[in-house]
Each structure stands twice: as C-alpha cells, then as structure tokens.
Symmetry: C2
Subunit: 645 residues, 2 copies
Amino acid sequence: MEEIGSSKASSHMHGDQTLYIHKVGAPPKKKLVNEIKEAVKDTFFSDLSLRHFKDQPGSRKLVLGLQAVFPILEWGRDYSFHKFKGDLVSGITIASLCIPQDIAYAKLANLDPQYALYSSFVAPLVYAFMGSSRDIAIGPVAVVSLLLGSMLTDEISDYKNHDYLRLAFTATFFAGITQMALGIFRLGFLVDFLSHAAIVGFMAGAAITISLQQLKGLFGIVNFTKKTDIVSVLSSAFSQAQHGWNWQTILIGVSFLTFLLASKHMAKKNKKFFWLSATAPLISVVLSTFFVYITHADKNGVSIVRHIKKGVNPISANEIFFSGKYLGPGFRIGVVSGVIALTEAIAIGRTFAAMKDYSLDGNKEMVALGTINIIGSLTSCYVATGSFSRSAVNFMAGCNTAVSNIVMSIVVLLALELITPLFKYTPIAVLSSIIIAAVAGLVDIEAAVLLWKVDKFDFVACMGAFLGVIFKNVEIGLLIAVVISFAKILLQVTRPRTAVLGRVPETSVYRNIQQYPEATQVPGMLIIRVDSAIYFSNSNYIKERILRWLTDEDAKKKENKLPRTEYLIVEMSPVTDIDTSGIRAFEELHKSLQKREVKLVLANPVTVVMEKLHASKFTYLIGEDKIFLTVADAVATFGPNIELP
Amino acid sequence: MEEIGSSKASSHMHGDQTLYIHKVGAPPKKKLVNEIKEAVKDTFFSDLSLRHFKDQPGSRKLVLGLQAVFPILEWGRDYSFHKFKGDLVSGITIASLCIPQDIAYAKLANLDPQYALYSSFVAPLVYAFMGSSRDIAIGPVAVVSLLLGSMLTDEISDYKNHDYLRLAFTATFFAGITQMALGIFRLGFLVDFLSHAAIVGFMAGAAITISLQQLKGLFGIVNFTKKTDIVSVLSSAFSQAQHGWNWQTILIGVSFLTFLLASKHMAKKNKKFFWLSATAPLISVVLSTFFVYITHADKNGVSIVRHIKKGVNPISANEIFFSGKYLGPGFRIGVVSGVIALTEAIAIGRTFAAMKDYSLDGNKEMVALGTINIIGSLTSCYVATGSFSRSAVNFMAGCNTAVSNIVMSIVVLLALELITPLFKYTPIAVLSSIIIAAVAGLVDIEAAVLLWKVDKFDFVACMGAFLGVIFKNVEIGLLIAVVISFAKILLQVTRPRTAVLGRVPETSVYRNIQQYPEATQVPGMLIIRVDSAIYFSNSNYIKERILRWLTDEDAKKKENKLPRTEYLIVEMSPVTDIDTSGIRAFEELHKSLQKREVKLVLANPVTVVMEKLHASKFTYLIGEDKIFLTVADAVATFGPNIELP
C-alpha cells in the first residue's frame, strides 16, 4: 500500500531526453465509516446546512435551529422601514393581481372561487415565516389547478358533489406531506429529475390546454366537454358555434383579452407601463363588473360569478378522507400535484435567487411548502405554490423580503371580509381572458428554439411533454417527460463516448483526433479515451468498443503499411469511477489484448479508480509500471522518440 | 463557425517564456440526419453487425442474411472430423449430466420429469443452428426452474391441475417472445442493467433457496411448506424431525451428496478427476436406482420417481393460453423468466467467449434463445437457457462447436425413447443431492469478498439481492437487485465528484490535490475539475458545489493571508456532455462569479460540449479568449509566472 500511497518522480532516460515520469498516486485509504459518512453528507447534505451547528453551545444551537426552520427570525432582525416600503407596494400589487386570478384559477380546479382566495390568505402568511426566497409570491397557480381539476374529475366526475371538495382537501393534505417528507429526508434532488427541457414543454402544453379550456368562458358555451385534449376541446367549441356562442360574452372576453395582452406587451417593451400591466387584471374585473351591473348583460346570457362566500376560511380538518375508498386516490393525486407544485416553486425560487445572488436551500423550501399545504388542507385551502407571473410582478414592483407575502395575505383577508359580494356580477369571460393572459407567458417559444439548437434530445423531451399534454392530458405529458428524461440518463450511462487521441503538434497534449484534425497518432500505439465512469451498465460496451477501435485502426494501418499497434493506452481521466463489472471488463480486455500481443497501458486513473484497481489486484495483472500520470509519460516510456517543445 | 472550426496555435508572450496557446477546436458541424443516424447506429448497432452487408450484391446479401440468422451455415463449412471428435465426447458427457439434472430440475418447476427432458431435446437442437456461442450447453436450469415454479404456484397453487402445465407453456411462449423482441429491436443492452454484483447475490440466494428446498427430498419429508423463504423452509423441515424424517432416505441422500461433492472437489484440485466429476451424477443415479430396486427400499418410505412418460415430445401449441384469465399472468411470468434466462445465457456465453477470444453477438443470441423457447412452448418444453454447470463441463470435455449440443440432443432423444422406464426406481433423494451439488457452485463467496474489497456499493447490491431471495422470494430478490443497481446509476448522475487541482511539481500537469498532496495550487486561481457529464439531474448541484469550493477556498486563503481567487478555472476534460440545464447552470455560475469579481475560465471542453456552448452563445458570454486547450495554457495566460521544466 505504501508504495502507491505517495507519488514519486523518477527520472527516466529515453533517447537523449530526461523525462520525469510520475507515478500515479493514491491518497491514504479512508476508513469505511468515514467513507460512508462522507458519501451520505455529500449526497443528502450537499448544501452543508449542518455546518453552522458545529461547535456551538446548546442554547445557541436552539436559536440556530429555530432560525433554520423559521428564516424570518434571521432576516427579521435586520428588517427596516426602508425595506418595508418596497414590500408594501409590491404586496398590494400582487394582491390586486392575485384576487382576480384566484377566482379564475378556482374554476380550473372545479372549485368555488372562495377556496382559491382562502389559499391566497393562509399560504403566503405561513410562507413568510418559513420560506427562504425573498421574491416568490405564493398562492394557487394555473397549472396545478388544472392538474388537480383533471385528476379529481377522473375520480369524482360530479364536481358539485361534496365529496369532490373533500377529495381536494385530502389531495392537498398529501401534497403537503409529500413535499415535507422530501424536504425532511433531504430528497430534494429528486426534483432535479424533471429536466428544464421537460418543464418548458410541459408548461407550454399546460398553458395551451388551459387557454383552450377558456374558450368555454370566452364564447359563453354552455355544454362543454370535460376532456382536456385539444381535439375534444376544439370540436366541442366549434360544434356549438351556431347556437352555443353568445356574442355579448365574446365581446367582453375578446376586448378585455386584447387590453390585457396589449398592456403586457407594452410593459415588456417599456418599463414605464409595468404598473398598467400589473393592475390590468383588477382594472378589467372592476370595469367589466360595473359594465355588466349597469347593462344587465347577465340577463342576455352572459355568465357571471354569481356567488362568492364572504368571510374567512372555515376549518376543514374533519373533511379530509383519512380512510375509505378515497384515501388511495387522494394520496396519489396529492403526490403528483405536490411534486409538480414543488418543481414550479423551486424553479421560480432558483431563478430569482440567481438574479439577486442569494442562496436558496431547496430542502428547506420543500419543508416550508409542505407546511403551507398541510395547514392549508386543514383550513379549506387547496394546493398553493409559487406563481411565476405573480413572482415576476413582485420582483418588478420592488419587493425586498417575504413581508410582501404578508401584505398580500392581509389584503386578501380584507377582500374576503369586505368586498367579495361585489364580484357577483363579474363576467366569467373576463376571468377567462385573465387566465389566458396569465398563462400566455408560459409558452416560451424562444426556449424551445434554443433547445433545438443546443441539444436535440432535450428538444425531444420538451416536445414529448408538450404533445402529451395537449393531445392527451396533463398526467400523460408528465409521464412522457419523466420517461424521456430517464431514458437520456440511461442512454448516457449505457453508451458512453470513446475517442482516439493524437498529439497536438508542438505540445505534449493528447486530444481527440476528430476534434483536432492536426493532432497526430503515435506510430505503434493506439490511444483511446473513455468518456464515462465504467459501470455494469456500460462495461461490456466499452470493452467491445475499444477492441473495435483496435481492429479498425489496425486494418487502416495495414492498408497504409504502418507498423501494427503494440501498445494500447487508455486515457482514464474522464473515468470518474469503476465498479466490479468494469474491472472484469478490463480483465477480459487485457486477456483479449494478450492474445493479439498488444500491451495494455493506463494513463491517469483518478483516486477512486486507482484504489479499486489496486484492491482487485488488476494493477498487478497488467503491471504497475503500465500505469502513468499522463498519456505523454506513457508515450515517452514506450513510444518512439518525440521531440517536445 | 469557421473560426472555431479549426484549431489555431497562437504564440503568446508571458514573462520571458514563449508559450503556444492552442485554441479549442470544434469539428465541422455534422448534419442533423447524420448525427441521428450515427447515434442510432452506436446505440443499437454498436456491434456493427450490418457492416458486412455494405456494398454487396443481392444474392450475396441473401447468403449473408441467412448466415446471420443461422451461424451454422458459416462455421459448418469449416467443420471437420477432428472437431467432431471433441464435440462427440463432450456431447455425450453433458447428456449424461443433463438427464439426471433435468429430472431433478423439473421438480423445482413442479412439472413431471419428462418435460425437462423434452426441453433438453428440442432446445439444444435449435440452438445449434442459430446460436453463436461454441461452448454453451442449452437446457432447463435450476434457477429458472425455481423461479418458474414459484411464480406459477402463486397463480395456480394446485400444480397437479392441468391448467398449471398450460400456464407453464404460456409463460415459456412469452419468455421466447420477450427474448426474441429484445434481440430484434436490439435492446440487448437492457440485460446489462442487471449488474454483475446483483447477479452474484441473486445466484447465491437462489442456490441456497434451491438447496433448502431439497431438504424435503433429502430427509424424505412428506408434508413440506410451499414457501421458499429460509425461515418457513427450516421450520417446516425441523418441525417434522420426529415423524417426518426417513432414515433410509437420509442415508441414500447424504452418501451420494458426499460422493458428488467430493468428486467435484477432487476435480477442482486435480484435472485428472474431471471425468469422474462429470459422470458422477449419472453414476449416482444408476447405483442408487439399482440399490432401491434390489432392496425394495421404496416399500420402506423411500420416495422414488415412479413414472416418466416414454417417447418424444407431444405437440402443445393448443395448450397455450392465448386468451382468458391466464393470459396476463402467463405473459408476466414469461417476461420475468425470459429476462432471467437471458441474463444467465448471456453471462455464460460472454465468459466462454472471452476465454477462447471469439466475439459473441448479444442480440443474435437473444433471437436464438427466443426461437428456442417459442418452438419449445409449442412442443411441450419449458423455459430453457444456458446452464453454467453443464457449459463448464462442455468446455472442459473439449467441445469445439455447437455440434456438442446436437449430440446431447440425440442422446436425450434416445433416452426418452428407450430408457426412461428404468428411472422408475430412482430415489428422489439422489435427485436432491444432484441438485445441491449442481447449485453449490453458484455460491461464489470469493466473488462476494472481492466485491466488498473493491466496491462497497456493489457489495450492498449483492447482499440485497441475496437476502431478498433467501428471506422472501426470488422475485423480491430480483426487484431489490434492479432497484439498487438503478439507484447507483442515479446517484452517480446526481452527485458527481468535483476536485480541486494543483500543479504536479516540475510538470505542467494539474491533478487532484487530494490524490497528489505534493501538487500545489496556483496563487489567485482556483482550478476545479468536474467529473461527469453535466445534465439536468446534476447541473444545479455542480453549480452550487463549485461556488462552495470557492467560498471555502477563499476563507482558507483569507486565513493564510494569501491573495483572493481572481480566476476560477473549470477543467472540463471529464465533462463528456452538457445539456440545456447544464448550460443554464453555467450561466448562473457566471452571473454569481461576476458579483464576486471572479472570472470564469474553461479548460479543454470536448467536441460536443464546445458545440453546445457555442450554439447557446455561452462562449460569447464569457468571451472566447477564456476557453483553453489545457489548464496549463489558462494558467500561463492569466496566472503568475511559472517556470516549466
């Protein structure tokens, strides 16, 4: 063990040059317990969240622990009136945006409007105490509302049935439990398995599905399909063109949709119009409600909200199905919607954290979101999470801390107590146009174009999710996205790249001869780089691929009357790990090479690989003098004389 | 595009040294169609099986096609009498081994003995025409028989019911379909997902489970549990110690078991005893049958085979469930047992192919095995595959080609026609001892010890599969093995390694400072190597890990009053690929670094990565002059003056 424990330089005479050949070092072996401890730490506590707790007295640990659970205790101490000004303005702004949005989103989940408002009161309040993002705005969101609505309707198709509401609370409860569990068991990294590309496609598909659903409200159609796929929805909408459409409704819907989209567009071009776009939904609601009230348009077939229950959230703890036939479906729906809600919140949180350069603890966020939804499910709320459109407005309006969420929450509370009856005459069409305007931003064509340009596989994942959502439903879209993402990972670990290396002229650097056409191969040698950890899933492929390179190259050399390959150098730098199957494959490779009278040489195995090659005695099998620090060292030792610069 | 299309050397003055700084090259862009074509080729046709077909006339293509499906047409032309001698001897040897083993294995599957003999007649015959391994011996095997028996009994617990037999044929049919489909769609690489480690554990567990099942035959127990877990079996065996054990049976069983194990042990120590060990099972059967016949031991409670149907396989095509309630279970059992049978055959085939250094086409093997089982299911056979113990005997007895399988098949046919009635008095106990002796070799303690030494995670996978099999059942063991194997891959792609690099003294080589403690860091710079492709599953982790390295190192530098980090060099050699999430992560990293006034520099991005960085305009974002061929070049450009040797 000692002899490979430290690296030694030995001068080596070759031709007329003195070269320093370094032995490949392996660090002192760690104890098993420490090894496992480090692996666990790096996998589950990669954010080093426990670091602060080290070497602290007990009382300090308690304070730190409380601060870890309630970040408000930490940032609250530095809170100032100056910060509050920004939070107040942004809080009121997002409240004005969230009230009309909420009423609309509740429709997507087939719930009465007040449940979304309840969620916008409780959730942001809890988040302000537990969340670590400063910019996110919490509440019901379009995609999760749609997902929930579609999954709940699959279980209980009559959404006027009280059990439907109870199942919604049950799903919300389990969504919270799922989110909290992921956070507590530090499995937050699982969220990363939904790739960015898949999310782009999924979101765009959901946005289009949601917009299509709004045709019902926008055209005033009475008998509308319950399915969400594009074919059913369009045929349902246009088959009713003669007798189902209501021109007053269309007039209201289209004019306000134009206003909303125009204000958004203007704000994008010119920041001066930001406030107009932020308050446009509220303006639309106020104007349209007033218009319907004075014209009695509701008597002419314009659907209106009709009834929103006044007052604060009732307790709903006793409504949750903790047993019976709806427990299973409730759990399943909760897990799916919880994960989607989480993915959205984490993506938003990270985006804004990167913009302001503060760090976000993913696991802590999950615990916070889980708590929100558990408390929410007990107080008549449904799944809440970070809303992209409202968070962007929050950020633009100059929020400084999560206090803006508290402000929003208080405004929503006041609205619930005082002004909900005023929404009675709000036309459904205007809510539909608010939804369309809100989700339009989720269709990110530029991002899709970039995916196409940069990575075709990512584009496929994106389109798979997109088409799955619009042609089938949200769950199928999700499933496709996850399957394609996994397939990509599996493909990577099954069919890694290999490359033949050549010497870049006037250097001792060896690079892929396809990437650097001027790089030249060394006579009598074949240098191959393996671009992946060697595991059971690819060990056999790598072995056969290397042998195929050898066969191909020797055929070429024979044609050109060059000397045959005597040394096969495997550049191991990118081989970050190897397992027992990998070592077996190398043993078999060694055996095959022996039959062909080719010597196997390894260059630069990393620490773990070196340890394992040593433990399995493979280093003795090929000879320790066949392992080098660099390809250049190996070539210098066995190869023809090369003049270095 | 042009400017990165070729690599250019520019001489660069630094201090008093002239250095050649090479630009990082990217090869001319391939067309999308070609790119996809190459990816498909490399994933599914990595063995280049279609290479021979290129540029050949039609008739030649037909011949090549036939040869591809029936390799016998290829190797048959060079067949000689000399080769036949070896095949004849080995064929007879494995037949003498397979007849007693088959009778015993049929019991594991709860089938009458003749069905295993049928399988040993049809399967090797078909394989000889279609298979490409020269050493494998085809027939029923212990593990698959056990798996089949346990899964079939779960569906139909009364194995005397005729439906049980029909379900066995159905499962065999679908096992064949599965194997053939995997081969035709070239999904053979999926078999690699059962890691070597998992197979070691699974096989050992199955061997112990199978041996424990033999306690019934060995002790002559009448009422025996149907469960296969170790607890049920042992308690069942010992609760019947008083009245259930039969001393004559135990005497026969234990003495022949001793003989069989001793002959195996002797053959291992000294090759002279190979023939004894190869024929020991047949000797045991003949001796014990004769002994029971003359002593009438069957009257004293020694169980005997009693009845084996004489004659050749009847047709069973009409017995398969192509509809009805058993179609689903039959399909499921078929898929599972088909995959396991495949895994075993491929592992054996590869082992012997590596020993004799010929190549084995995995996909072709699967088609051959699939055909065997489809034809088998129509002719009263059950799932057959490569047997490890018989293949080893085949190899040792000097087989040259698959003709040995034909010889075996003919001998089995003769046995079926002529001598099966003689097995009437064969005691079950001797069959049990033959099974135990055969599966004993599957418990590979040395391999498990090596797993522990080399790779702890592999050992966990091995033990998981092992304990799952012995404490629960074969399916659970399999499931555990697959889950752990996948978890390992996911862990690898989620939490890749990163390392801080330093310069190895007297070289321009930069290596992990933990592996090479004498390597020194460059003042004002932090060099980090990322050891994995950067994908959505790890991009965020990598970004945060790099920032953490920076924070930690800067804290250390501050303590030691060293200059703070101004340049962060990311060594990209092991980054074999990047996707859009990865690029986003780098953009975020770049933004965070800008806030900290640290410049991001990349060293040696590989072709694909360079292409993608370019397509996404990331190269413009950080500046093309920040991308170098080697770390040394980057240090030479931005770093302090370092004297190179």
